[in-house]
């Protein structure tokens, strides 16, 4: 008793998932499944890898080749999977903390290598699973259980971070703008090289409650009102962009891909022997 999309792409015996009421992760996970289905990928040729955290539960629910790894190391495992079997479409599901704090080093170096891996960051601005500690994407002055007087750190813009590090496809979507998110994920998966989608989620249970952001619906409305498409933003005066964040495609380029370069080296030296 569920839609065809869910039946075709999820492990039905694992559903319903255990994410909190109103958690945006379910919306993003469905969007991922929709994107994979729209691309018509062979399920046997898709491998979804995750680390630790709320987001990282996703592969457990998804009916593909899946790998649930250690905290922050999803990209390291994914690199291994991709090099061992370059045929696979490797998709990494990670959270803001998992990817930019614990796995920050893996993130920048995977981007630098431009290896053909698609990373979907379920970004909810907090560590949800462990009880609401502030993460590298918690905005300055916001609260977390480990920042009871306000967070003095500056937040990472994960898109700018991986853009600078060498990713070839970088985009941001939200749990509110679902159709756009699905299209972005499709393009990210199709890109040959390192792609990252910063998918802005909502966490009503921890981030929302700690920062008095209201209900799941109010948090969805915040995404609706505060997200500005990059293409539209170019035409708007700066005063209209105050307290807004940008969504859409930031980078879409082509550069030599790591596994292909690696295979070239192997071929070159096999010939010489």
């Amino acid at each position: 008793m569920s839609s065809q999309l869910i039946k075709n792409n999820f492990r039905m015996d694992r559903l319903p998932h255990i994410w909190c009421p109103g958690c945006g992760h379910g919306i993003i996970m469905r969007s991922m499944a929709q994107a994979i289905q729209n691309l018509g990928l062979d399920k046997q040729k898709v491998c979804i890898v995750s680390g630790i955290g709320c987001s990282s539960r996703a592969p457990g629910y998804m009916d593909f080749n899946t790998l649930h790894t250690t905290h922050g190391r999803a990209l390291a495992f994914a690199t291994g999977v991709k090099l061992a079997n370059p045929e696979l479409k490797v998709i990494v599901v990670t959270g803001d903390g998992d990817c930019s704090a614990i796995g920050g080093n893996h993130l920048i170096h995977t981007a630098r290598r431009n290896i053909d891996i698609t990373t979907i960051v379920f970004n909810n601005n907090i560590y949800g699973m462990t009880g609401g500690q502030y993460s590298p994407t918690t905005p300055t002055n916001d609260f977390g259980t480990t920042a009871p007087f306000g967070n003095i750190d500056k937040a990472f813009d994960i898109c700018k971070l991986v853009d600078g590090a060498g990713a070839t496809y970088v985009a941001r979507g939200t749990a509110y703008h679902v159709n756009q998110l699905t299209k972005i994920i499709e393009k990210a998966i199709s890109n040959i090289g390192f792609s990252l989608v910063d998918a802005i989620s909502i966490c009503p249970t921890y981030y929302g409650r700690k920062n008095k952001k209201g209900t799941a619906v109010q948090m969805m409305n915040y995404l609706k009102d505060s997200a500005v498409d990059t293409k539209v933003a170019e035409k708007l005066p700066p005063e209209k962009l105050e307290n807004k964040f940008f969504i859409g495609e930031f980078k879409n380029t082509t550069e030599p891909e790591y596994t292909e370069e690696y295979m070239k080296i192997i071929k070159k030296y096999q010939k010489e022997r």
């Binding site: 008793m1 065809q4 994410w19 109103g22 379910g26 209900t215 799941a216 969805m220």
Partner: protein
């Protein structure tokens, strides 16, 4: 396309609904309501079968039957 829309049916998986209210709030024609903290259909005649409820339900508890590609 319109014929296909007419064939669609709005379905609810009550056991999966966590009562987050997202589908109710973002339904453009106010078809839905919460009853005992679960989604319920208040007025099916207003439903335009746009599928926004299905798109934004985090728990896959509401969907349009026949809306997916059953090719």
């Amino acid at each position: 396309m319109d014929n296909r829309k007419a064939d669609k049916k709005l379905k609810i998986v009550e056991e999966w609904c966590k009562g987050c209210n997202i589908c109710v709030a973002f339904c453009p024609t106010n078809v839905l309501e919460l009853r005992n903290n679960k989604v319920a259909i208040a007025d099916i005649d207003k439903c335009t079968k746009c599928g926004l409820c299905e798109l934004r339900c985090p728990d896959y508890a509401i969907y349009l039957e026949g809306s997916e590609d059953e090719k």
